[in-house]
């Protein structure tokens, strides 16, 4: 019996490791390319491990100023996440505690999230051209806020429902207004959920490509748009693509790893309580 159990275990680990190797290989490859010398990148057959790993590809991004695109991504994703969290939490609170809007409002908000971005961004593009909002921080921040809102509302609905209502009622009896109950009682209780929601909302905005591609020209290019520009009709700058991809992906990996226990809820739009 014991023997069979260990053999099963070995098989399980072998399969698991094989799965991981296959699934993580593209990520490994990108990291390796970012560390290669330019001539190694274009070798055939390909080099699986750089002979002298170096950070020159990253240095180029700094000296040529391409890292500004990461800063733009940070500002746009960061500010829009903050606004969406504030506005979305208020909205979710009213939906949970006061049943404002009922099921119809909830469904309408969720349906906003499910529409194709290209169909949403085209009308925005027309409107922004008139109001001069294209290629500006406010324009993108407004769009990303609206884009993040359905997600924040749905996630926060779940987390706020878990806050015991008795504490809020006690505070109301003490003469607190609804807003200060939310701020002083509910928000501290739901802190973990708020942080998790904010980070996932940030990651979605950080990863976004289509909106940024359509609405930026030169001023506020995000890092995903920057990567797309390395594909030329004549030549493709693989070293830069790999290095920029690593810089844009590492923060996300770190955030998601730190938030492991929220991952299921986070990526499933709160559909599953993880």
């Amino acid at each position: 019996m014991k023997k069979r159990a260990t053999r099963e275990g070995i098989v399980w680990y072998a399969i698991s490791i094989l799965i991981l190797v296959v699934m993580l290989f593209p990520i490994y490859w990108m990291f390796m390319v970012s560390l290669k010398l330019p001539e190694e990148i274009f070798k055939s057959p390909p080099v699986w491990f750089p002979s002298k790993p170096q950070f020159g590809n990253f240095a180029v991004l700094f000296t040529e100023g391409d890292v500004w695109s990461l800063w733009n991504s940070l500002v746009i994703a960061g500010v829009s996440t903050l606004i969406a969290m504030a506005v979305g939490t208020l909205c979710a609170y009213a939906m949970v505690r006061f049943k404002t809007g009922g099921d119809n409002l909830a469904i309408w908000i969720l349906s906003q999230r499910m529409l194709p971005p290209i169909a949403v961004v085209f009308p925005i593009f027309l409107a922004y051209a008139v109001f001069g909002l294209s290629d500006s921080y406010p324009g993108l921040i407004l769009l990303y806020t609206a884009f993040a809102l359905p997600y924040v509302v749905w996630m926060m609905r779940g987390y706020l429902e878990d806050v015991p209502v008795e504490l809020e009622e006690a505070a109301l009896v003490d003469g607190y207004s609804h807003l200060s109950v939310l701020w002083r009682v509910t928000v501290p209780m739901a802190r973990n959920g708020i942080i998790a929601t904010a980070i996932f909302a940030f990651v979605f905005s950080w990863n976004e490509f289509l909106f940024a591609l359509v609405l930026t020209r030169t001023e506020v290019i995000t890092f995903t748009v920057q990567i797309s520009q390395y594909f030329g009709s004549q030549s493709t700058f693989w070293a830069k693509i790999a290095a920029m991809s690593v810089l844009g992906t590492l923060p996300v990996f770190i955030a998601v790893t730190l938030l492991q226990r929220y991952v299921v809820r986070g990526i499933s739009l709160g559909a599953v309580k993880g």
Partner: protein, 303 residues
Amino acid sequence: MSAAAATQTKAGRPFWAGRRGAGLLFVGPAVFVMLLVGLFPFLWSVVVSFQDITGSNPNGDWVGLANYKKLVADTRVWAALGRTLLLLAVALPLELILGMLLALHFQAERPFKRLFVALLVLPAVVSPMVAGSMWRLMFDHKFGPFNQIIGWIAGEPIVLLWTVKPHLAYWAILIAEVWQWTPFMFIILLAALANVEREQLEAAEIDGAGRFRVFFRIVLPAIMPVLSIAVLLRALDLFRIFDAVWQLTRGGPGTKTETLSIFMFIRGFQSFETSYTAALVVVLLILLSATVVFALKRMEIAR
């Protein structure tokens, strides 16, 4: 609840002190932002879709339903729609089945399982545009490792032009897509499996039901609500697929991998057929909104 609202809205107190007033006030900003970015530009495109605005003709004349008629007759739209649906029809079942197999495998409680699961989720949180770039690196016919690995398996060097040949480009997109989103299915299904009641499973085992019977009779029905939400989310995501396709093939060769989103992007933002794209936007938004609302109501996702 209305009684509570009535007692709280005493004379002389501002309306937001009551539950109803506060509710409207709290919901207001979010609804305002979404309407500002959603409804207002949408109405604008409805107007534009009845004109003939293009890049070279910014002040269009009224043309009635001409753009919509052109749309129905445009074989390129239908081809793009067909391609999108084909991709959806192949990728979605693949992601579902592979995700389910992974979830069943990683259901086992073993040391380091959490680490494995955490690592396996990483593809799903990579930016789809970065994922497209990574696969472009992988698929490069000369210095990418994909052809080399196939060559090892085949026993002879193989050169396949993954992003150039029409059929291979389709497979390239499919592989990238399945790679990125199978972990999404996996993580959701894994959580759903963990919530299946132990007693029921044990009872079935005592009754001597086989593994397949237990899975199809007990496990599957139990996770059905979660599974259908996951399928809905993925289906809608696949329907609007853009980033990875753009980075892998830009819709090419020719229009062979042009999905609906790519088609709209090219028409709207590269050849500046403004009114024509607007017409497509209007049709798509109306059809999809109806579908989404219907599906959500059917699933009673809003509780």
